[in-house]
């Protein structure tokens, strides 16, 4: 049926699975919202916007016409803005979000205009513009403009700064739906589309993308480490993970691109799972501050399970899906590291180190989250609330997503790679094979053996509970409770990092704040010129006319 809409729409191996995933997330978000959003004002509008978002993103993904793509894409910025505003206090961040996202859409318009100028068509399957040669400057401007729109949508640095605050303030299902899943899918899909089909990549552009990716990974994960708010922490990870996707696409090797795309899919799965579990926690405890949480694993076992699986996935622990896609990205980098140019080799090695390091830090910050939320002691305030598991409409989406994490990891080669990713990217060859099935089997056997060994000593663990003494006086354990976040404060106080963190929190690295300052300073100067005195204005008029005479009448 969709073929009859050609050339406006076209389904191919790249966008088909993206549209499918978008549909899945819409369904899960709606199921989750049924309970979570219950009783909040403006629900009709909320669901209208969700549906409009779903339709517009499907249209944007399947579109084969750049103008249509642009129109749907830009419209998504508006629905995102309206969805964030479902929370009445989120005005400031909604404004910031829309300025960054909508502003980058204006750049995309420029890029599409240049593409039209260079190739004479806006039909996507007929465009192929080299980034080198005759009209190099224009082509590069076009590519970068569209790439910026992708970065802003997906949240790669330096256009990421709307995501963390948005994650904190917007309603959870909205965050899980847009910044965590749909926007990632769209942004990375378009980045892949322009890199694979619309433009012929050059080495310099690959290096540019790889560096953006690596910086995004490291900088965002460093910020995530020091967060005290669960949703904001997840928000920084939403930025950090984009780095892997950009990095994968930036490698320019088939395996790397396939890894980037797979990571996009995986990230959407586990990131929306994580946000939804944070929503579950918020629903029961009405807070997402890590310091005020703890010990929820007994009260909310299903949520805990889903969150644990998703955390392990995002940290790249085998056999979950995050590991497979990260490993593919690494392979792409390793392949690039063996290429001939010195610069690209060096970049590839640098990025590889950064990506692996980033992966470790991700694990560290998720240990913090899991510990602080689910494991440590329950604070007294929570005990009084008698926390229980959330209704099924809320845990079901989380479990479905967690299950996808496992399936996509264990049966990576049989399911997602075979049907979705490998058809989209030609010529993928693995360096060394990862037999996920075998590995899983070994891991499971290891776990069983471990439990067996554990049980040999009897059913109870050998833990002695005793009172703690300091200087002969007994300590009140509840009063000196060690929260999960305190341990990580040492990072913040670590010599050189301290200054960087201080600057980052003051908004020095935020392109929005810097741009705002620049615009206002220009505005201030112009306002100084407009002093409201009539003779001044008349002088301008006459000077202007004299200049016109000088230029036009010779």
């Amino acid at each position: 049926m969709i073929d009859s809409l050609y050339p406006l729409f076209k389904v191919d191996t790249l966008n088909g699975f993206v549209a499918l995933a978008a549909g899945l997330f819409t369904v899960l978000t709606v199921i989750f919202s049924l309970r979570f959003m219950k009783g909040k004002p403006g629900l009709t509008r909320y669901y209208t916007y969700i549906i409009m978002t779903a339709v517009a993103s499907a249209a944007a993904v399947l579109s084969n016409n750049l103008i249509l793509l642009l129109a749907c894409w830009g419209f998504l910025g508006l629905t995102l803005y309206l969805l964030i505003l479902t929370n009445n206090d989120a005005g400031l961040i909604a404004k910031k979000t829309f300025i960054i996202v909508g502003g980058s859409d204006a750049l995309m318009l420029l890029g599409i205009g240049i593409i039209y100028y260079l190739s004479g068509t806006v039909q996507m399957d007929e465009i192929s513009i080299p980034l080198t040669g005759g009209s190099q400057l224009l082509a590069v401007v076009a590519y970068v403009s569209i790439a910026i729109a992708c970065f802003a949508k997906a949240g790669a640095m330096p256009f990421h700064s709307w995501i963390p605050d948005c994650a904190k303030l917007a309603p959870v299902p909205v965050v899980a739906f847009l910044p965590a899943s749909l926007d990632k899918l769209l942004g990375i899909y378009l980045l892949a589309r322009i890199s694979l089909n619309l433009f012929v990549m050059s080495e310099a552009m690959n290096i540019f993308l790889m560096l953006i990716g690596a910086i995004t990974i490291i900088a965002a994960v460093m910020m995530a480490l020091i967060q005290h708010n669960m949703k904001k922490l997840l928000g920084y990870h939403a930025v950090s993970q984009v780095g892997y996707m950009v990095l994968g696409i930036g490698t320019g090797t088939p395996i790397g691109i396939a890894g980037g795309l797979f990571h996009m899919l995986n990230n959407a799965v586990y990131k929306s799972c994580l946000f939804l579990t944070s929503g579950n926690v918020e629903y029961r405890t009405e807070t997402t501050e890590l310091d005020e949480l703890g010990g929820l694993s007994r009260a909310m076992p299903l949520t805990y399970f889903a969150c644990l699986i998703a955390s392990l996935s995002i940290s790249g622990i085998p056999p979950f899906n995050g590991f497979v896609s990260k490993w593919m990205v690494y392979q792409g980098l390793i392949e690039q590291a063996g290429s001939s140019g010195f610069v690209i080799r060096f970049t590839a090695v640098f990025c590889l180190v950064a990506a692996m390091f980033g992966s470790g830090l991700t694990l560290a910050s998720f240990m913090k989250l899991i510990h602080a939320t689910y494991l440590s002691r329950q604070p007294d305030a929570l005990k009084a609330r008698k926390i229980s598991e959330v209704p099924w409409t809320m845990w079901l989406p989380c479990l479905v997503l967690a299950l996808i994490c496992i399936v996509f990891g264990v049966f990576a080669n049989q399911l997602p790679l075979k049907y979705f990713i490998l058809p989209a990217v030609e010529g993928v060859s693995f360096i060394g094979s990862w037999y996920s099935g075998l590995a899983t089997l070994l891991i499971v056997i290891g776990l069983i053996l471990g439990i067996f060994a554990f049980r040999l000593k009897g059913l109870k663990p050998l833990v002695r509970v005793d009172s703690a003494c300091v200087g002969g006086e007994e300590l009140d354990l509840a009063a000196s409770r060690v929260t999960g976040t305190e341990f990580y404060n040492t990072i913040r106080d670590l010599g050189p990092l301290k200054r960087i963190y201080a600057k980052a929190e003051a908004g020095i690295f935020d392109i929005y704040e810097q741009g705002k300052a620049a615009v206002f300073s220009v505005g201030k100067f112009l306002q100084y010129l407009h002093n409201g005195i009539l003779p001044t204005y008349l002088v301008w008029t006459l000077l202007g006319m004299i200049l016109l005479f000088f230029i036009l009448v010779r």
Binding site: F98, I99, A106, L109, G113, V519, H530, Y537, L552
Partner: protein, 503 residues
């Protein structure tokens, strides 16, 4: 040529309404004034839509009406071609909704008959300027509209309004006198005042200095009326000071009729445009676009912010038309239409806020969304339109203008247009944030949504904003294309008019 008889009605109806209202309006009930105003504007809108229909149905390029039956070039003629019909629809559409809005809004002010008298005089001037085919006549109508607008800006008679009106009057008069000098030069050179005839004479009698010289005079004169940088300085004072419905007229249609329309009509159809003039137009357009938008972002007075955006958006129009290509002119004219719709809506919104809350200061507002949902949502529509967010109408015209810039290879202007668009979005996000979002102030807990007449105008304009993009559909595109063709034909205009007038 029966249909040509509708042309003078565009002048007669508002003029008659103005006189009726001023003569007997104050002796009878207000309802009479309201009825006359609504009826006159409705008729004007109907006739302007009919004029589009006539041109399309008969498939002729233009209709010519000879005043008093005198042949061209001895008598005055009125011409209705594609561009005229386009402008008439734009002006009378906005005028209709503004007049409906004013029925309730003007409760804030005293002496409604005087207001509507001035309103209709201004409308007379604009409609007359659009239909006339005579250069001196054009000047007369321009002055009628200008003088009425000087008075309307001062309508509130507070110190601020009077000062703004004074500035506006002085600068407007300077512009008018330069336009007048320009017309005098042309008359001296061609011995005719009829635009078609003048174009023919200029064609057959080339001259090295008169045309460029007069071009500069007109560029300054009409440029000041259109508020192009550096001739814009009166606008940020004048437009906010007027009553909101008049601000909507001034920013929505007056600067476009008196400035842009008059300028392009004279430049393209009479004087003929050289590449140098086009480049100058593009440069001034881009300059206005950028300078004004930087100023707009920093404003805290809502109406002043909107006024600066008028300058900026006129920059887009001028840039598009200055490109001189079919696509560019299409984009420019389409943006002109769109801007008149969304900018008048924005000013009407600001009027509604002023009506309900009594302030124009963004810092004083906040949380109005819950009390004034309709104003809030129509304002969102208009903001999205002006910021060029799809699928609202402003998106399509900006898209065409940027594409047209790139089509001719002007990357710099395209980038400027993009920056302008980004900052426009930023400043309207600011309006949304500070006016409508957040928490409502305690002292405003009693405010109500505005009366029905005002709501009606805002809803209708918002609907046009949403559906405006449909004008690009093949079935409706003739509306814009006919206007574009008039400009593209250049001095051929003379032959068309002369041919139709039977000479």
């Amino acid at each position: 040529m029966q249909n040509a008889n509708i042309i003078p009605l565009f002048v007669i109806i508002p003029l008659a309404a103005a006189f009726l209202i001023s003569l007997i309006g104050r002796y009878v009930s207000l309802r009479f004034t309201n009825a006359i105003s609504g009826l006159a504007c409705f008729m004007l809108l109907g006739f302007s839509l009919y004029s589009v229909y006539v041109l399309q149905a008969q498939g002729i390029p233009a209709l010519v009406y000879k005043v008093g039956g005198w042949a061209i070039p001895f008598g005055i003629c009125m011409v209705l071609d594609g561009l005229t019909a386009f402008m008439l629809v734009t002006v009378n559409l906005v005028a209709f909704f503004v007049s409906i809005y004013s029925l309730s809004y003007m409760d804030k002010y005293t002496d409604r008959p005087k207001f509507f008298t001035l309103f209709f005089l201004m409308l007379t001037g604009m409609n007359g300027l659009i239909v006339t085919g005579d250069l001196f006549n054009l000047f007369v109508f321009l002055e009628i509209a200008s003088i009425a607008s000087y008075a309307l800006v001062a309508f509130g008679t507070e110190a601020e309004e009077l000062e703004a009106s004074f500035k506006y009057a002085i600068m407007g008069s300077v512009a008018s006198s330069f336009i007048f000098i320009g017309i005098a030069f042309l008359y001296g050179f061609t011995s005719t005042l009829n635009m078609a005839d003048m174009a023919q004479v200029l064609n057959s009698k080339p001259n090295l200095w008169v045309v460029p010289f007069v071009t500069v005079l007109f560029l300054m004169g009409f440029g000041l009326k259109a508020a192009i940088v550096p001739f814009h300085a009166w606008l940020p004072d004048a437009h906010p000071s007027a009553p909101a419905s008049i601000s909507a007229m001034l920013s929505g249609v007056l600067i476009k009729t008196l400035g842009v329309y008059a300028m392009v009509r004279v430049f393209f159809n009479v004087l003929g445009v050289s590449q140098a003039v086009l480049s100058m137009l593009m440069f001034l357009g881009a300059l206005s676009m950028l300078v004004a938008v930087f100023l707009a972002v920093s404003q805290w007075d809502l109406k002043r912010l909107l006024a600066y955006h008028s300058i900026s958006q006129i920059g887009y129009v001028i840039l598009g038309i200055g490109l001189g290509t079919p696509l560019g002119i299409l984009g420019g004219l389409f943006h002109l239409f769109n801007h008149s719709v969304f900018k008048s809506l924005l000013f009407l919104n600001s009027g509604s806020i002023d009506y309900a809350v009594g302030t124009r200061d963004l810092n004083e507002m906040g949380g109005l969304k819950e009390k004034m949902p309709l104003t809030s949502s129509t304002n969102l529509v208009a903001s999205m339109s002006i910021a060029g967010i799809p699928p609202f109408n402003g998106f399509f015209s900006k898209l065409i203008i940027i594409f047209a810039c790139l089509q001719k290879g002007y990357l710099g202007y395209a980038v400027a247009a993009v920056i302008g668009s980004l900052l426009t979005l930023a400043s309207f996000m600011k309006v949304q944030k500070y006016a409508f979002l957040g928490t409502l102030k305690e002292k405003y807990s009693q405010i109500k949504e505005v009366p029905l007449a005002m709501q009606f105008s805002m809803i209708c304009l918002a609907i046009i904003c949403i559906l405006g993009g449909l004008l690009l559909l093949p079935a409706l595109k003739f509306f814009l294309n006919d206007a574009v063709n008039v400009l593209l034909e250049g001095r051929e205009y003379a032959r068309v008019v002369m041919g139709l007038s039977g000479r």
